[in-house]
């Protein structure tokens, strides 16, 4: 085989592998799985207090982090995609921690105290803190 042909073939092969790798990276990269992460442990009341007192500060501490939160269930609903949503009580009757499960946690009842682990997406003043993609810890 001619030397230049060999070089061309090698370049093409490297190109194909790199392109394949890039496509695989873009299309096959898994979504974050919070169940494999160590969460920041705190209570529903504490995360509410943190955001209410200083949103910017709480964002640096909790935004996009895995949060393992314990609190009292206020109500249980489902969202429009059929995922279970639990609102956790705070000392403000109009404010809850809004938590969406990615796996079904089974039967949950208002008044129950549970621990939920999910990813915090932030704070909506006068409404709730949002944590989603979550699982039931206990």
């Amino acid at each position: 085989m001619k030397k230049w042909l060999k070089i061309v073939l090698i370049i093409v092969a490297v190109g194909v592998v790199a392109a394949g790798g890039l496509i695989a990276y873009v299309y096959l990269k898994p979504h974050r799985d919070v169940s494999k992460e160590q969460g920041v442990q705190l209570s529903a009341q504490k995360i509410f207090d943190a955001f209410k007192t200083n949103e910017a500060d709480a964002n640096t501490k909790y935004l996009d982090k895995a949060i393992e939160m314990t609190g009292e269930v206020s109500d249980v609903t489902t969202n429009q995609d059929g995922n279970v949503v639990v609102n956790f009580k705070t000392n403000d009757p109009l404010f809850v921690i809004n938590c969406t499960f990615k796996t079904n946690p089974g039967q949950l009842k208002p008044g129950q105290t549970i621990t939920f682990k999910g990813i915090c997406t932030g704070y909506i003043p006068d409404a709730n803190v949002v944590i989603n993609e979550g699982v039931l810890v206990k």
């Binding site: 990276y25 873009v26 299309y27 990269k29 898994p30 979504h31 974050r32 964002n59 935004l63 996009d64 609903t77 969202n79 429009q80 995609d81 995922n83 949503v85 609102n87 809850v96 809004n98 969406t100 990813i119 997406t121 932030g122 704070y123 909506i124 003043p125 409404a127 709730n128 949002v130 989603n132």
Partner: protein
């Protein structure tokens, strides 16, 4: 005595108007967007906090990190490069129903409507109008509407992917 009576009447009137204004809310409304030019640009947010009052005021708030894409890589790009979710975690809309007179909140039915107000996204506030429908069922409203969002209007540099997206809003209120 006269003053006392007029005070009572005024108080009753105030009470009455306070009662007349009804506010409905949800914490888990849905807002999704998609691009006609790139089928991978498709995401949904199921944690939209929204309130609608029968005086025509309507608000929506969502956290941009709450948008779920099918592709994790796309989701990261959206948050890190396009809407810069860490710097601007929230998007807010505050507006009013343009044709409030045609919507009867106490009568079941589907009412065509149009909503106009200020959308704040990526640190930029712009006035937008969206056409949609309000459905009243058993005294509870639900809203669906659609609008086109042009990326550069909100200083979002996503030219490599898409220059605009179609936004769909669907909220069921309690």
């Amino acid at each position: 005595m006269k003053i006392f009576v007029s005070f009572i009447i005024a108080a009753l009137f105030l009470l009455n108007t306070a009662e007349a204004q009804k506010v409905f809310g949800t914490r888990n409304g849905q807002i999704s967007f998609s691009s006609a030019s790139d089928q991978d640009v498709k995401a949904v947010n199921n944690e939209v906090a929204s309130r609608i009052a029968d005086n025509g005021q309507i608000t929506f708030s969502l956290l941009t990190k709450g948008f779920k894409f099918k592709l994790a890589e796309m989701q990261d790009h959206f948050n890190d490069q396009y809407v810069e979710s860490t710097k601007f975690p929230r998007a807010d809309f505050k507006g009013t129903l343009v044709n409030l007179g045609e919507v009867n909140f106490s009568k079941d039915g589907a009412y065509k409507t149009s909503v106009k107000g200020d959308l704040t996204l990526h640190g930029v506030t712009k006035n937008i109008t969206a056409n949609g429908t309000i459905n009243i069922k058993d005294g509870k409203p639900s809203v669906s509407c659609q609008f086109i969002l042009v990326m550069k209007d909100f200083n979002i540099d996503a030219a490599k992917v898409t220059d605009k997206v179609t936004v769909d809003v669907s909220c069921q209120y309690q």
